[in-house]
Amino acid sequence: MKSVCTSVFILLITFSAFSQSETDSVFFRELAFMQHLVRLNKSGEAIQYGKHLLNASDISQPERDTLNYTIGWLYYTQKELGNSSAYLLQVSRNSTAYLKSVFFSAYNYIYLGRYQVADSLLDLIYSDDELVNSLKSFERSGSSLLQRDFDNFRSQSLLYSRQYFALEKQADQLDHYYQGLINYKPKSPGLAALMSGLIPGSGKIYAGKTGEGIAAFLVVTALSLITYENYRKDGLTNYKTLFFGGITGIYYIGNILGSAATARVKNKEFNYEMDQRILFDIHIPLRTIFN
């Protein structure tokens, strides 16, 4: 719902900009129809119709730009970022939507983890406007942080001005994430495995999964007690002792391997969460400035 509202809002902006030059035109009507489809929650159909309009041979370059921008934006709201960039990048340099299109394409590529492409797109932007240049550096600093290139992050951070309202808060956030990343001590899979070897489940607790750790401790302990009981009554070579001992061994080793895996997962979770936060924060100034 949120994405639909956003789409409608952006389309309205496009229309208002466009209508200044070609009020009541056929093309305006076509764009209004695309907006109508978005309002009906049919962004996919709006995209398809936009592509159909693009195929017409008699449309002017500004119309083509508007359509490429609108389709790109609709793809963006649908989270189809590759397709979004493919259309946004077709917006010509003369269009008023060019700057926004390039910035959002770059953001799309950052999101997709294609940092080199994003960097080269940001290189395309030439401007005397300090805000635009600051935004460029800000996006680059975010990209560096996502790549865990802390040196580049620090150097890019010095290149943008924090006096702008659109950047101020998010710049602080990036600094905060940077501190979090450099201070984060990754969970050691080896240590987690060793701890679970000594006290079953403790490796998982160390890795941050307390519930799983307690459950593992209870299962291994219960199975060990059963094995011990059978060993005490029937001796080591009895089939029952061997059977329960085997199951206990499997659980014990499985728990050690599981603890190492949990530590790895925990590290991945931390990095994923940080990445999502960074992506969110480098996205906000784009929306603030261009909307």
């Binding site: 056929v26 009507r29 398809q48 119709y49 007690l225 059963i226 009981e229 009554k233 329960f244």
Partner: protein, 291 residues
């Protein structure tokens, strides 16, 4: 000369603009041709384009019917119903109101939204004054009532429906006889609560009640074996083994059996209702095909 050229240009521009605005390359015809090519998804967009340009409610309703037809042909009954919900039906000719409400009820029935289907039939009976037309909805109403498990009402409607058919009297009597026989023994549905309580008291008995004796006996045997294993182990002095393994297995089989009973009762009821209603359908549609 200049003046004539100027007026001529203005006239041509206005004519082109007006003709395109009023009917930009006739989207409805384009939609129709796409339907011919079985490209229903694309046809939907062009019908919507025509709707967007139309101001007359009957025209919009007719186009929405076309959209619903496309969606029906692609098996998207719920979406077809959504389109028909946008259509007006009050104040139109009986045939158009009938078509909208009948198609809505049919799509609701096809998408298993039986209460919605019944409501649409009620609306049809209210808005359509032509009794001959209303009688055309009797078959669908009978089937909807049967799906709502209102078998007495369904029976009554089915009788009226058969009597309204223009078929030889002998055929009619044959159908009525078959119908009478069918409704004499409506499906006996199992109660989920009874099944659950039976299973609480004697594990497996709920599954026998649901009509699955083999599964019930198996469930009982598994529960009894787990209990016997636990008790036997404790009697022989294997307290931990008996308690942990016996209780663990018993708990798994006991609660698992409960869940399976609920599922089996639902399955049995579904199959019985399905069989009964399909037989009704078979009788009523001996020589009639539903649209």
């Amino acid at each position: 000369m200049k003046w004539i050229n100027g007026s001529y240009s203005i006239f041509i521009s206005l004519f082109v603009l007006f003709s395109i605005s009023a009917n930009p390359s006739n989207p409805e015809k384009k939609g129709d041709s796409l339907v011919q090519l079985e490209r229903y998804r694309e046809a939907l967009i062009f019908y919507e384009r025509q709707i967007f340009d139309s101001r007359e409610k009957p025209v919009i309703t007719r186009l929405l019917l076309k959209k619903a037809q496309c969606l029906k042909l692609t098996g998207m009954y719920a979406e077809a119903l959504d389109e028909l919900k946008r259509a007006s039906y009050a104040g139109f000719s009986d045939s158009l109101s009938f078509e909208v409400l009948y198609e809505s009820a049919l799509c609701a029935w096809l998408s298993s939204q039986f209460d919605e289907a019944a409501a649409r039939i009620k609306m049809l009976q209210h808005f359509v004054k032509d009794t001959v037309m209303v009688k055309r909805s009797l078959l669908l109403e009978t089937l909807i009532l049967a799906e709502q498990l209102k078998w007495e009402e369904s029976h009554a409607k089915a009788v009226v429906y058969i009597q309204s058919l223009q078929i030889p009297e002998r055929e009619q009597e044959k159908m009525l006889l078959a119908l009478e026989k069918q409704f004499q023994s409506p499906p006996k549905l199992k109660k989920e609560n009874t099944g659950r309580w039976l299973n609480y008291l004697v594990p497996g008995s709920g599954q026998v009640y649901a009509g699955y004796p083999a599964g019930g006996i198996m469930s009982f045997a598994l529960n009894a074996t787990s209990l016997a294993f636990g008790v036997l182990m404790i009697i022989n002095g294997y307290y931990l083994t008996g308690y942990i393994i016996g209780t663990g297995l018993l708990q798994k089989f006991y609660f698992g059996g409960l869940r399976r009973t609920e599922y089996l009762v639902q399955k049995t009821n579904y199959l019985r209702i399905r069989k009964f209603n399909d037989e009704i359908k078979e009788i009523l549609m001996t020589d009639v095909k539903i649209e």
